[in-house]
């Protein structure tokens, strides 16, 4: 069956009133749970999994798609308003989004996230239907050497645009690399940097670190600099995007979507790398008159791009999950277990054995996407009202929710000590102008890069030239060199031209 016929059949199936009802219910539940601070899509789906068992397979998966996209929407809402990302993909959204919210631009930030998600979802759904199978063939050709080069490219692009000071940015990155090392080494089973604490054997949770860096650290810094009696007035401002906002968002939406989808399809891609790359790309490409908004009052490009990349990657993740049976994110792993509980094994045979289910699933992804824009845009005003809560109650609430989110996952006081301890470090980082985003980047990419490096060298039997002799790896490394040296050469030439 070709893609067009399959998609048509899928839509015919998904558009029945009862299936539309399931999609609507899924969207609603997903948004409602996903909007709780510290709860991301993976946890939302895991929590709602028992609900789906009460429904027959097709209905359950439609419900599931709604929950999946709904949780993504809800997650970005709390990232923007409260600076408490619930999963690693929306960490980057919180960077500029929370700054926009604090400067009276919560409405446009939420709208650009919602519309960006819609654009990305559309690109992603088209991608799954038409180019997914081709990308999977290509992705299977990438080995550890290529992945290591890809991560090196990420490190280079990140450190080349670290902002204020390269020394402080790199220190943040190294701190993240250190946190990423904590736990059992995957290849040899040796505990590393655990200092004899058994709870640290599982490693440090990335979401915990992000919440500590953004929410707890920020709250502490504000207490440090709190002026008695001086109430901070947060303006909600206009809710809808202005014409300029639309003009500034369209490019990032499309670039983010196109960047995010292929990364989602890669078996080691995930949502983190494309959101980071999109953020730094937008920061580089922004028009000079808006450049100052990055990192200060919040730039809309920094929300639109990463949020689109996040959603497109999340859709892309379904490609290896459905066609290879390979879950590449926590969310996909839980979806895979749901498939298995219905006795369906995703893999190369799925499209031929269960065409109705698969195409209905893909069609209902698209329907969920449309529904969420329609549902969420009118709610923007309601969500933005959260900012009207007075400062003391708002920050006390943020701290309580950061605590419950952390404690609820592990039931461990050790994790709370980590949450507050890293929060204190984040407070000093804020005071001494160390950027916090590289910590998260180092923590996520560090272990992946180390793993890829060691696998590549094991395969090549210790031959370091493997990174240069494999053509795709060599190309990516060349790109990294260009990213590192290019801007400097360019600046040098300009200076010569002027002088």
């Amino acid at each position: 069956m070709d893609s067009v016929a399959g998609l048509a059949m899928g839509f015919a199936n998904a558009l029945t009133p009862i299936n539309l009802g399931w999609a609507l219910l899924g969207c609603f539940l997903g948004t409602a749970i996903g909007v709780l601070p510290g709860i991301g899509p993976a946890l939302t789906i895991a929590l709602l999994l028992p609900v789906t068992f009460k429904v027959e397979a097709t209905g359950a998966f439609i419900l599931f798609c709604g929950v999946f996209y709904g949780a993504m929407y809800g997650g970005s809402t709390t990232s923007i308003l409260l600076n408490t990302p619930g999963e690693s993909g929306s960490i980057i959204t919180a960077l500029e989004g929370a700054k926009m919210a604090r400067n009276g631009r919560a409405g446009p930030a939420l709208v650009t996230a919602a519309v960006g998600s819609f654009v990305a979802g559309t690109v992603g759904t088209l991608g799954i239907s038409f180019i997914g199978p081709i990308v999977v063939d290509l992705a299977l050709k990438l080995g550890p050497a290529e992945y290591f080069s890809l991560m090196l490219l990420c490190f280079v692009t990140v450190s080349a645009v670290l902002g204020g000071s390269a020394l402080r940015g790199l220190t943040s990155l190294a701190f993240g690399l250190m946190l990423g090392l904590v736990g059992i080494d995957l290849q040899t089973g040796q505990p590393r940097l655990t200092f004899g604490v058994p709870e640290l054997l599982d490693g440090v949770n990335v979401v915990l670190v992000a919440v500590a860096l953004f929410a707890v650290g920020e709250t502490m810094y504000l207490a440090w600099r709190h002026v008695e009696g001086g109430q901070e007035v947060r303006e909600i401002g206009r809710l809808w995007m202005s014409a300029t906002d639309w003009r500034r968002s369209i490019g990032p939406w499309i670039r983010g979507s196109l960047l995010g989808f292929p990364f989602g399809v890669l078996p080691a891609g995930g949502t983190e790398m494309p959101t980071m790359l999109s953020y730094y790309a937008e920061r580089k490409m922004v028009k000079p008159e808006f450049r100052d908004e990055f990192g200060t009052t919040g730039a809309i490009e920094g929300v639109a791009g990463p949020e689109a990349a996040n959603n497109a990657a999340a859709a892309g993740i379904l490609v290896p999950m459905l066609t290879l049976g390979l879950p590449t994110s926590a969310t996909a792993a839980i979806m895979l277990s749901a498939f298995q509980s219905y006795g369906i094994q995703p893999g190369p045979m799925l499209f031929t054995q269960q065409p109705v289910l698969v195409w209905t699933l893909i069609a209902s992804l698209y329907i969920a996407n449309v529904m969420l824009v329609v549902l969420n845009l009118p709610l923007v005003g309601l969500w933005a009202r959260i900012l009207k809560i007075p400062t003391p109650q708002l920050y006390a609430g943020i701290l309580v929710f950061a605590t419950i989110g952390t404690y609820g996952i592990s039931n461990s006081v050790t994790d709370l000590v980590l949450l507050y301890g890293i929060g204190i470090i984040a407070m000093f980082m804020r005071r001494f102008d160390f950027p916090t985003a590289p910590v998260v980047i180092g923590m996520i990419l560090g272990p992946m890069a180390e793993q890829a490096l060691r696998q590549a060298l094991t395969i090549s039997q210790g031959d370091w030239t493997t990174f240069l002799t494999r053509p795709i790896s060599a190309t990516i490394l060349a790109l990294a060199v260009v990213a590192l040296v290019g801007p400097r050469l360019w600046a040098f030439r300009q200076r010569r031209a002027e002088g």
């Binding site: 220190t171 190294a174 600099r225 709190h226 109650q393």
Partner: protein
């Protein structure tokens, strides 16, 4: 303390504070190097063992720490930060109350349960940020934490531990 003496204190203290940060990073790097050294040698053959990357990260941290200390010795970077120039003095009362909130949470959550620990934390953090009505905060705190507990534990089935109040409802 008046504003003037505070300003003078900051201006003189800044490079020293920056130096402390730089040395702190060096110490962190040394700690990582020690931890890397303490990883037992793996009996398994590997091209790159479990210790290589930790050693690398330790060396990088020490090098960056030395770099930061050198910058601090030349006058530091804090004095150039716009935010620090305009910053009000350290609010010890707010920091103290907030810290107390964190300590209370850590000490009580396993013993009295989430609802009581988080409610006390809520009241302390509210007063840290200048709320003058602790009774109202207590009431809101109980509602917020109870609501969160019911949403997480009862509706979603997330285990957030047992406690005194949790046992009653």
């Amino acid at each position: 303390m008046n504003q003037l003496s505070h300003r003078a204190g900051t201006a003189a203290g800044t490079p020293r504070a920056d130096l402390v940060v730089g040395l702190g990073v060096v110490v962190l790097g040394l700690l990582v190097l020690y931890a890397a050294w303490a990883i037992p040698e793996s009996p398994l053959y590997a091209q790159v063992g479990a210790k290589a990357v930790p050693y690398l990260v330790g060396v990088i941290l020490v090098a960056l720490g030395i770099g930061l200390s050198a910058t601090a010795a030349k006058g530091g970077w804090s004095h150039g930060l716009e935010e620090e120039m305009a910053a009000p003095p350290t609010n010890w009362r707010a920091l103290g109350l907030l810290g107390a909130g964190l300590v209370v949470q850590l000490a009580l959550i396993d013993w009295l349960g989430f609802v009581i620990a988080a409610t006390i934390q809520y009241v302390l953090v509210c007063s840290a940020f200048g709320s003058r009505r602790p009774l109202r905060d207590l009431l809101i705190g109980i509602l917020v934490t109870l609501g969160a507990y019911i949403a997480f534990a009862r509706l979603l089935g997330v285990n957030i531990g047992a406690g005194v109040l949790e046992g009653i409802i």
